[in-house]
């Protein structure tokens, strides 16, 4: 485990050092453990405000969560009824 930790640390340090600047792009440059994505040459690392900004609607983005919460509530009501009566009513 210790060897592995050392190896990972060395690897991360190497990637953060100037040596990485001369290495070819391979999509990976660790900023932190598990956070290693690197934007492709010519592409932004943030797309908001760029020509690739999908301009998501927050209202649309929240619909899935709202749907799941509503289902959870309906399911909980069904379970409560089932526990009281022994009969499942959909």
């Amino acid at each position: 485990m210790k060897l592995k930790t050392i190896a990972v640390t060395c690897s991360a340090l190497m990637m953060l050092s100037g040596a990485s600047a001369v290495m070819a792009y391979d999509g990976t440059k660790c900023k932190a453990a598990g956070n290693c994505w690197e934007a492709k040459p010519g592409f932004p690392d943030k797309i908001k405000g760029s020509k690739y900004d999908p301009k998501h609607s927050e209202k649309e983005l929240n619909k899935q969560d709202a749907a799941l919460k509503a289902m959870e509530k309906r399911n909980a009501d069904r379970v409560e009824q089932f526990k009281k009566t022994g009969k499942w009513v959909y």
């Binding site: 690739y52 649309e60 899935q64 969560d65 069904r78 379970v79 089932f82």
Partner: protein, 627 residues
């Protein structure tokens, strides 16, 4: 608002986990022990993977290398449904349970007289579900729970329109029915439920519509939700144990479900889990893979996009993740890693006995992890033609990419291997513990890929890439054949004991037996048996339609049977099923399988084989009204 949401969920999650743990500890082992016993018996096939380890291996050996050529049809059953028939029937205590794709009918058949249907369950569901299914209207099968003193034995199934239903296994009557997905926002269900202890684990489908993946546990007795955890978002939603990835901190630990996404893109970030599960009763952990990030267009989602594409090891009772290993950070190819998890106990290269998990991923790499810690033990190419990655660094766990095969806006990337369909997709493969070999059904497919921008609208397709798929370099691209392989793999040495090419993808997976045989079905409608040691083809039979499910075997009254679903469809056959001709249609599948329609047509049913075709109907008086 978000903070309130997080803290509320965190509290609810904790409360549910505690109440669940308390509830499950009373009498929990009774049903589980029954299930374990049933899974050991060759008379039964009680779960899709044969056993909790997902070995898909039977110790039955009446049918063996010497006599397999005498296999003949014993009896058959038409489901009356077309479209792709994935998964396999279950057999429990003399009854076969058969499922279908949408409309998700279920049949119980008495093995003493298979011509009579004991009961049938035909659910009413919203037909609009068909319009939001990404890749045909498939279903991967049923789960069984053996019952206890509080509730009867049950068959559990998912419906395409998002419901999970528990049926009385004796009568087929609905015991409970819950909503687990809403098709109006793209959430569907195609995965087989997985039962362990008194919990029904259900995955989610719909990443091609931007569905944020989630895994849910329901109490089998009441249908009550016990826990639900997501693939993306805040840690309190993802469900991370306090020691998450403690043994492998370089995999990443806290906060990454949001910090590896831009703004709120994680809310529509995919990571659905419509594949298979395995469970280790000793560790009380279960395992599965989360799938591709959404949309497919990588330029629209900067970041590593955690925790899509992840092998999860979670505690069963709380659902909290002990480890998560992301195989394809920032996926650019739709390598949705929901693939089968097969558990084995083997000595590693240093001679140390390990509890292992082996997972043939869609990205062309077959991974083996220590399933207690998540340590990466091996990661090898399933075929040397995989080119997006040079290798996986076992120390860091990171794939070393070849940028030549990356994808990006404004560019058509060519000759990427594997294709989006992967070198391995939803097939359930097998592990022979004596030979220490995994038998892999493989796709040999590569592709061109060109992304495009599109807005997100809940309930609408959110893909953002045109794909052209074709057989890989070892196949015949011009004629659309040579798109499949079958291989025998040793996860410790990384060697392949044997490998064979197939005309089409081996989509459904393999089943191995102590008879020294490996069975599988083919898209063009054959069931085949190969020698487990050499790969030599020993037997085959042409079925009424192509196969995308996996074989199973059971013994009834002293006779060993092999059964398999037929019914071509699923992603590889969407062109055939929906009569599509544009090679890039069907998310890129149509061109790759343009030849398939000359080999098979739609159908749907189960075919059962035995030596010399031995059958209950050898007694010709069986079922007769008058002789």
């Amino acid at each position: 608002m978000r903070e309130m949401h997080h803290s509320r969920w965190s509290k609810i999650g904790t409360a549910l986990a505690v109440s669940s743990a308390l509830g499950l500890m009373s009498g929990m082992s009774v049903a589980n022990d029954k299930l374990v016993e049933l899974s050991k018996s060759n008379e039964n096939w009680v779960m899709q993977g044969k056993d909790f380890s997902g070995t898909h291996y039977s110790t039955a050996k009446q049918i063996n290398k010497d006599n397999v050529k005498k296999l003949r049809p014993s009896w058959s059953f038409s489901t009356g449904v077309l479209n792709g028939h994935e998964g396999a029937p279950l057999v429990v205590n003399g009854t076969m349970f058969i499922h279908t794709p949408f409309p998700n009918n279920t049949f119980a058949i008495d093995l003493d007289e298979p011509g009579v249907i004991k009961w049938e369950h035909k659910p009413k569901q919203d037909p609009a579900a068909r319009a939001v299914a990404c890749c045909d209207v498939v279903n991967r099968g049923l789960a069984y729970w053996p019952g206890d003193d509080k509730a009867p034995a049950m068959i559990v199934k998912s419906l395409l329109d998002g419901h999970v239903v528990a049926l009385n296994a004796e009568t087929g009557e609905e015991y409970w029915k819950v909503e687990n997905g809403d098709i109006s926002v793209g959430q569907t269900e195609t995965a087989a439920p997985f039962v362990a202890k008194d919990l029904v684990i259900q995955g989610s489908s719909g990443a091609e519509l931007g569905v944020r993946g989630y895994v849910t546990a329901y109490d089998i007795h009441t249908g009550e939700m016990v826990w639900r955890w997501y693939a993306t978002g805040p840690d309190s939603d993802v469900g991370l144990d306090k020691d998450f990835n403690k043994a492998n901190p370089h995999y990443g630990q806290k906060g990454l479900g949001t910090s590896t996404w831009e703004d709120n893109a994680w809310k529509i970030g995919g990571g659905t889990n419509w594949g298979w599960y395995a469970y280790d009763p000793q560790l009380d952990m279960f395992y599965y893979g989360s799938g591709n990030p959404a949309p497919w267009n990588e330029t629209m989602r900067p970041g590593d996009n955690k925790w899509t594409m992840t092998i999860w090891g979670r505690d069963l009772e709380t659902g909290l993740a002990k480890f998560g290993y992301q195989k394809t950070p920032h996926d650019e190819w739709d390598y949705a890693g929901v693939n089968v998890m097969m558990l084995s106990e083997q000595k590693d290269k240093n001679g140390k006995m390990r509890k292992l998990l082996t997972h043939p991923d869609r990205n062309g790499i077959i991974y083996t992890l220590d399933r207690e810690t998540g340590d990466l033990v091996s990661a090898n190419k399933m075929d040397d033609t995989a080119n997006w990655v040079k290798k996986v660094d076992l120390e860091t766990g990171l794939p070393i990419r070849d940028p030549e095969y990356g994808t990006r806006m404004g560019h058509r990337s060519r000759d990427i291997c594997p294709s989006a369909m992967g070198f391995h997709n939803q097939g359930f493969d097998s592990y022979d513990p004596k030979r220490e070999l995994f038998y892999l059904g493989i796709n040999h497919l590569c592709m061109d890929w060109e992304p495009f921008m599109l807005p997100y609208r809940a309930g609408q397709f959110f893909v953002g890439a045109n794909v052209w798929t074709y057989p890989g370099p070892k196949g015949d691209r011009q004629n659309g054949i040579g798109s499949g392989q079958v291989k025998a793999y040793n996860a410790i040495t990384g060697d392949f004991a044997w490998e064979k090419m197939e005309k089409f993808s081996v989509w459904g997976g393999t089943t191995a037996t102590e008879g020294g045989l490996v069975f599988y079905g083919t898209l063009d409608g054959f069931i085949k048996a190969r020698d487990a040691d050499t790969g030599k083809l020993l037997w085959k039979f042409k079925l009424p339609s192509g196969v995308i499910g996996h074989p199973m075997t059971y013994t009834h009254k002293g006779t060993q049977y092999i059964a398999i679903n037929y019914g071509v469809g699923g992603w590889p056959a969407v062109g055939l099923v929906f009569d599509l001709n544009d090679p890039s249609a069907g998310l890129g599948a149509v061109g790759a399988f343009k030849e398939l329609a000359r080999n098979t047509q739609m159908g749907g049913g189960v075919m059962v084989f035995s030596l010399d075709g031995k059958s209950p109907y050898d007694d010709v008086s069986l079922g007769e009204y008058g002789m």
